[in-house]
């Protein structure tokens, strides 16, 4: 009950934010993840500004060219600038990664929440259905859905989003199951709160940090998923650049120009790694049990 250690000008909310920020900054890997992930997002948004060339501009004087001052990462089999294509290609990856996870959240969270909170036969049906869907590996599910929907970036995003739904339903349901038993939920019932208010004020806000972490961790999976779909021809269609498309194109020239496959591979690796590091960092700072 002493106020000695309290900086007087700060509201509790601001203080909590400051504590979280300090905890986050103490994790160098998480900071690197955040910076790199942000760089990829910015690169995708600012592609027209920062890419040195258009993604489809060909230079037939420089085909399969080595890195040079003119083309920092060289050129591909049609003389297109590889760096520019990587930058333009990040748009597909980021879009598929972020949008598909958002889509999955919007679908999965209400379903999982309702199942976990209200229990009953609805919960049983949803839980068993989720188990069945979870028996399919994420990528197989996404490939199957993309094949049904037809090849395009938006369909690939949709397929990846639907593919991520079962896992998220399970997480939201599990959280809701645990939170509905919390003492403050019982106290809210005793104070006359209705079902909707309990879900909106007591259950959902307390599962947000888990959902944020899960979302961040799912993004790299979706980015890789997009690359896989595009590589298989189920996602972005050439000549639109995408890391998966670039990998697929590079395949024919592996012996002459192996670096053509390495660059998009590295981009996928670094981008998904950065989101993974960010997700791990967020989990560490938001989970009170790992407080250091």
């Amino acid at each position: 009950m002493s106020y000695v250690d309290v900086a007087p000008a700060l509201t509790p909310r601001a203080r909590r934010r400051r504590i979280l920020r300090r905890r986050f900054l103490r994790r160098p890997l998480a900071v690197v993840g955040l910076v790199v992930a942000l760089a990829f997002v910015l690169g995708a948004i600012l592609a027209p500004v920062i890419a040195p060339y258009s993604a489809s501009a060909t230079d037939f004087n420089s085909v399969l060219g080595h890195p040079s001052g003119k083309h920092l990462l060289g050129t591909d089999e049609l003389g297109r600038d590889v760096l520019s294509r990587i930058i333009w290609g990040s748009r597909a990856s980021i879009e598929a990664g972020v949008l598909s996870v958002l889509l999955a959240m919007v679908v999965a969270v209400p379903i999982g929440l309702a199942a976990g909170y209200f229990r009953g036969w609805v919960d049983t049906v949803i839980a068993r259905l989720t188990d069945v869907l979870l028996a399919f590996p994420f990528l197989i599910l996404a490939v199957g859905l993309a094949a049904i929907l037809g090849p395009s970036l938006s369909n690939a995003t949709l397929a990846l989003g639907i593919g991520a739904v079962p896992a998220l339903i399970r997480i939201a349901r599990g959280e809701a199951l645990a939170l509905r038993e919390e003492d403050y939920v019982r106290a809210a019932v005793a104070n006359g709160a209705g079902e909707f208010r309990i879900i909106a004020r007591h259950v959902l806000p307390n599962m947000l940090s888990t959902l944020i972490v899960q979302g961040t961790v799912l993004i790299p999976t979706a980015i890789i998923g997009e690359a896989v779909l595009s590589y298989l021809g189920l996602g972005v269609q050439p000549p639109t650049p995408s890391w998966g498309v670039m990998l697929s194109d590079a395949q024919s020239y592996l012996t002459q120009a192996p670096m053509l496959a390495v660059y998009p591979g590295l981009a996928i690796f670094i981008c998904s790694l950065s989101f993974n590091l960010l997700g791990d960092g967020l989990r560490d700072i938001l989970d009170p049990r790992t407080t250091r």
Partner: protein, 342 residues
């Protein structure tokens, strides 16, 4: 009915209280709670009747599992769906047991408020305490956000939280256990309820903090005239603040009396056992335990539930269920061999 002589027929205590002059806010009659479990029914509360008078502090004591919490949670339908509740509970012209859930929702927190045992976990960690107190005010009284915030500060002041104007913006994790329990009480008092049910409000707290909370409850009764039900297993707490005490055993009322009467002339051997187990400063004697264990409540009793642990048990107690008798005005006991300890 047992052959043992009784001055009053059983279950006449309602009439007895009416005779005492005070008006009952809450009148419960024949309340039974049964849990349907996989192993068959469990009779948690068996035909319990009692009244709560205006401005009274009623202590309800008994060991874990005797049905004291279940009784009061059943009144507001806070039990899991496996609970089957029967009986009547008249509260301001409404039978709580028969009322619709929508109707009950308006009683919960507004007219009958609960304070739970666990202050550490009974507040939502995601919102400030002011916001949470305000939620109750906004919902029940339709206050604006601004008015609710002002009232929340008043309430925190009422429960004697220092620097309430600042505490109102703090999150639960920034408060100590005693502070959180004060916040819970503030929240319970938000709508000026007729009845405050405090379920082991001090059990999770330090002894010094306990005294502060009890002091606060006494103060609330005096200032607001709220009727308080204090559920506890701590007879010291009851002696401190209650006007009247109900001793429960195995889902039934074992004894009921005004607090001084109960402490001066305990009649039921269980009550005597409980009192013997209270540590007293200065007394060098060994604390007396009650031998045996709390009985299983799987079947409706065919004998006195306390008989296996009772020094006075005989053939009658092992074959017949004792009914409540009024041995003194307002002093009820369910025992075939009542009386002070030999």
């Amino acid at each position: 009915m047992s052959g043992v002589g009784s001055t009053e027929p059983p279950r006449s205590e309602g009439a007895g209280f009416a005779g005492a002059g005070a008006e009952a806010v809450l009148h419960v009659e024949d309340l039974s709670v049964r849990f349907e479990t996989d192993d068959g029914p469990v009779h948690a509360v068996d035909r319990l009747s009692f009244s709560l008078e205006e401005g009274e502090v009623l202590g309800v004591v008994g060991e874990s599992g005797c049905g004291k919490s279940v009784t009061f949670m059943s009144l507001l339908r806070l039990l899991p769906e496996t609970a089957v509740v029967t009986g009547r509970a008249a509260f301001r012209g409404v039978d709580l047991i028969a009322a619709s859930t929508a109707k009950l929702r308006r009683v919960r927190g507004r007219e009958i408020a609960f304070v739970f045992q666990e202050p550490m976990t009974s507040l939502n960690p995601a919102f400030t305490v002011g916001n949470q107190i305000g939620e109750v005010l906004r919902r029940h009284l339709g206050m604006s956000r601004r008015a609710a915030c002002g009232r929340a500060i008043e309430l925190l002041d009422l429960v004697r939280i220092p620097v309430a104007a600042r505490r109102v913006d703090e999150y639960p994790h920034q408060l100590s256990g005693g502070m959180r329990q004060r916040v819970m009480i503030a929240m319970a008092l938000a709508c000026d309820p007729k009845v405050l049910i405090a379920d082991e409000p001090t059990t999770a707290l330090d002894v010094t903090i306990q005294a502060g909370i009890l002091d606060l409850m006494r103060d609330i009764r005096e200032r607001l005239g709220t009727s308080i039900v204090l559920i506890t297993h701590n007879l010291g707490v009851v002696a401190d603040i209650a006007d009247r005490v109900i001793v429960m055993y195995a889902g039934r009322k074992a004894e009921e009396a005004p607090v001084h009467e109960l402490y001066a002339r305990p009649q039921h051997p269980y009550t005597i056992g409980l009192l013997g187990a209270v540590p007293r400063p200065g007394a060098a004697r060994r604390l007396q335990e009650i031998p045996g264990r709390v009985p299983s409540l799987a079947e409706p009793p065919t004998a006195c539930a306390f008989a296996p642990r009772c020094p006075r048990a005989d053939d009658v107690t092992r074959s017949t269920v004792p009914e409540l008798r009024e041995i003194e005005p307002r002093h009820l006991v369910a025992c075939f061999h009542p009386g002070p300890s030999p």
